[in-house]
Amino acid sequence: MRRTPRDTEESFRRVSRRSLLLSGAMAAVAGVLALRMRYMQGERADEFRLLAEENRISIRLIPPARGQIFDRNGVLIAGNEQNYRIVMVREDARDVPAVIARLRELVALDDAELERALREMERRSPFVPVTIADRVSWEALSAVALNAPALPGVAPEVGLSRIYPFGPDMAHVLGYVGPVSDYDLNRLDDPDPLLQIPRFQIGKIGVEARLERLLRGTAGTRRIEVNARGRVLRELDRREGEAGADVQLTIDHRLQNFLLARYGEESAAMVILDVTDGDILAIASGPSFDPNLFVRGISVADYQALMAHDHRPLADKTVQGTYPPGSTFKMLVALAALEAGLVRPDETVTCNGFREVGGRRFHCWSRGHGRVNLHKSLVESCDVYYYEMAQRLGIDAIAAMARRFGLGERFDLPMSGIAEGLVPSVAWKAERRGETWRVGDTLNASIGQGYVLASPLQLAVMTARLATGKAVVPRLVKSINGVEQPVPEFADLGITPNNLRLIRRAMEGVVNEGRGTANGSRILAADKKMAGKTGTSQVRNITAAERARGVVRNDQLPWNRRDHALFVGYAPMDAPRLAAALVVEHGGGGSAAAAPIVRDAILFALYGEIPPLAAYPESQRARIRTMFETLPVLERIRPGSGASRA
């Protein structure tokens, strides 16, 4: 296009005008950019600086060492052992299968665990160490360390893991720890960040669970610099956490060990208290299990074997099990009658084998005791005498006395699943069963049958209260971090001393008089004599037809239909120090199956070792010696030996 000079001038003016406008717009935009820069880097700089720091710094937790648990003599019963594991970093290993093949020649690797590890390695970033073998032996670890050049990316690591040196002996008291699960997180509602650490061990049951807060300690932290993908570049600083508190229990581990050994094959539960301060010296439920299995993750086969066992090794029968106390309940009925003034000590009741009430026959275990006074009723355990007392007292008076002695009470001990037991009353039956209380119910209750239920712990407390006349309360924790826990001054139960003395005389008679039901379990050592009471509680009804044919003997019945054998006792009988209660599940008669075990246990506790034969009646010494010689002594699990795999 041809253009005249006028056109050119016109174009120049127009372009200049528009260019200036355009420049103005561009300058305005540039101004906005500069203002935005100043706003972000000036006004809001601190905020962004903080965000940049948060990006850069990651806080990792350092798990604290769990508090240790000791027995009353300061022997370690729950500790931490060093746990060696082998970890692998994928990016350092490069050829993972080849390195694992070489590793296999040195260490036995578990196929299932290895597969899990390989999957995890695939999923995580290549620089994250993944555990490929846990709990390896020191020897295997040294082999790995020695061959380090041939094993790129493989490194040994040390961590802490729980160990119970006495294994099954303390299983029910201590419980065990295990890796925290989703279930635990929901249940505990605990904001502690430690619980977010994968495989962090927390108490699952028993003292470990109940004293979890004390034992766990607090987490330490280390601040580390990480990049956008989470790779750790360096540690900035480190604040150590606080280890968990050390706890000392009142248990004597040797006594506990002796009890479990002495039970043999029986399913039994026994509690031994120090009557002066309520210390639980032993609380053993047999058979037991090895809690170390649970710490390492129990195998399905092992767990099923424990579940299928008809003696229920996982249950803690000492506090969770409740049993009809049988004749061991009679002291309370007698005491209630004495205190109410409804019977004189020398007053007699005639027993000819049964008593008929409301058209029903209530039988005595014997075919007839003849004329029975209070003393004889306990020594020979006459049932008919108590049927008479029951009718005079009524259930509510009996229940009131039972409660004063700790039955139906849930003691606050750091153990799991402590049962309340049952002390029935008129109101209870109306409320819970919707039925009226019958005289027959009172009669059954008077001999510790029917609705009455008590745990071995409660029976031991009852015995301690009978022995002292004071409201003895059991305790399990002796000291925390070396600080002795206070022993309360026990209140007097307010029982007329003379009445209590009568009952104790009778309990002494049970063991030490010729006609006493536990005379076979008497102790000869003058300063260690025992008083007590046998009990045999039925787990089935004996029908009239059965009784007519002659009652079937216990040993002809299947195990789980046999009677429970019970014995409660204290010693030394002149100045009581120990009170014990034992239930042998389906063990038969209390005098034959329960009393001897209690005698041995009390003697062991008083002597502090296997008792001398001189403490036993001469006729029994040969049998006792054989028994002690064949007693299975439980091995202590030494840290680092039994716990390692190889």
């Binding site: 120049f12 372009v15 420049s23 300058a27 950019l33 820069m37 700089a45 990049n227």
Partner: protein, 379 residues
């Protein structure tokens, strides 16, 4: 031609042309490229070979190209405008059919030694062809509807092709760059008002189309818009880039964390830290002082170009210069607005600083045209 007729005797020839070059512009360009080398060295963690060295070689080549283009008379380039435009369109169509897909969206032609991005070239070719068109057009016809539709078509054809790649950033730059030339040429402002009005309407329609069967943008493009409006809505997903970029920029403060001390880029929190987001590293390590200085350098480059345009009486030369200045401005303005959270993330590099061959070469060639216009201007 009128141009040659009365002014050819004033045009320098031979080596003397070098004296007429716009040397301040050369210094400014080198300074900006130098900032780029520094930052590329820093984001590579002190590694020269990784990004800084190839970038230096490219800048050297670009500088040589600029001088070569500057030596060629401007009327030659005016005559080549239509050819350049035609080649650009052809290449755009070619990549559409046979192009090399990289980074999910960008399309490239592999020339063996360099991955050429025809869309970059198109930006300059479009400015050239529009300047040539208005140079040819009778002044009185500038605002006639028919003669407005022709340049509008010239703009929309490559824009549509680029949008299809899809490359929203380049499409935006083409539109705005073209519009700038039309505006400078003196097209009546009512046309722009109408287009802006229609644009707002179109944005509304596009937003309304979301989730409808006739949805006009890809889902990822809608998500980018969401992220732009509220980056914190998805801090680890689509909003991650912009959130981390803002953190890096803001945390630089007044004077920055120091060279090679930027934690955000050092620890890889920054995305695309050597390309589109390189400005955030500069802002983090040198703070407001560094970031503002770069902005000043850019504004000075645009200013020298505008000054050159204002002093050039040749219609083609001044329109070309102003168009290239506007395109260059749009580059850094959109990039900075994007990393500062003022605009959606559209993938526009920071000119002469971001690592990348095509943009660098094309920009240097464009500045060669500016220099040629200056050297061969009527005196």
């Amino acid at each position: 031609m009128t141009y040659l007729e009365y002014r050819v005797q004033h045009v320098p020839t031979g080596v003397r042309k070098i004296l007429y070059l716009n040397w301040p512009l050369v210094v400014l360009l080198t300074a900006v490229a130098g900032v780029g080398f520094l930052m590329l060295y820093s984001v590579a963690g002190g590694n020269l070979e990784r990004w800084a060295e190839p970038q230096m070689i490219r800048f050297g080549a670009g500088l040589a190209l600029m001088f070569a283009v500057a030596m060629v008379p401007i009327w030659f380039w005016r005559n080549m405008a239509a050819v350049a435009y035609a080649v650009s369109i052809a290449l755009l169509v070619w990549v559409e059919l046979f192009g090399h897909v990289g980074m999910g969206a960008q399309r490239w032609i592999n020339l063996g030694f360099i991955l050429l991005q025809p869309s970059e070239m198109t930006k300059v070719a479009l400015v050239m062809v529009l300047a040539a068109y208005y140079d040819w057009l009778d002044l009185r016809r500038t605002s006639r509807p028919l003669f407005v539709l022709i340049p509008a078509g010239l703009i929309l054809l490559p824009t549509a092709l680029v949008l299809k790649q899809p490359d929203l950033g380049t499409a935006l730059l083409l539109m705005l760059g073209g519009a700038a030339v039309m505006f400078a040429a003196g097209v009546h402002w009512l046309y722009f008002a109408v287009v802006v009005g229609l644009g707002i309407g179109a944005v509304w329609v596009v937003l309304a189309s979301r989730g409808q069967p006739w949805q006009l943008l890809e889902d990822y493009q809608f998500r980018r818009i969401d992220t732009f409006l509220d980056p914190s809505s998805d801090p680890l997903g689509a909003g991650y880039h912009i959130t981390q970029a803002k953190i890096a920029l803001g945390s630089g403060g007044w004077t920055g964390k120091g060279f090679m001390q930027g934690t955000q880029s050092r620890l890889n929190f920054l995305p695309e830290k050597h390309t589109d987001f390189i400005f955030t590293t500069l802002a983090e390590e040198f703070g407001f002082v560094g970031a503002f200085s770069l902005l000043v350098l850019y504004v000075l480059i645009v200013g020298f170009c505008v000054a050159a345009a204002l002093t050039n009486k040749d219609r083609f030369a001044s329109l070309l210069t102003i168009g290239i200045a506007a395109t260059f401005f749009l580059y850094f303005a959109v990039n900075m607005a994007m990393v500062m959270g003022l605009a959606p993330v559209v993938g526009v590099p920071l000119p002469l600083v971001s690592y990348g061959g095509s943009a660098m070469i094309v920009l240097m060639a464009a500045f060669g045209l500016v220099q040629s216009a200056q050297v061969h201007k009527p005196r």
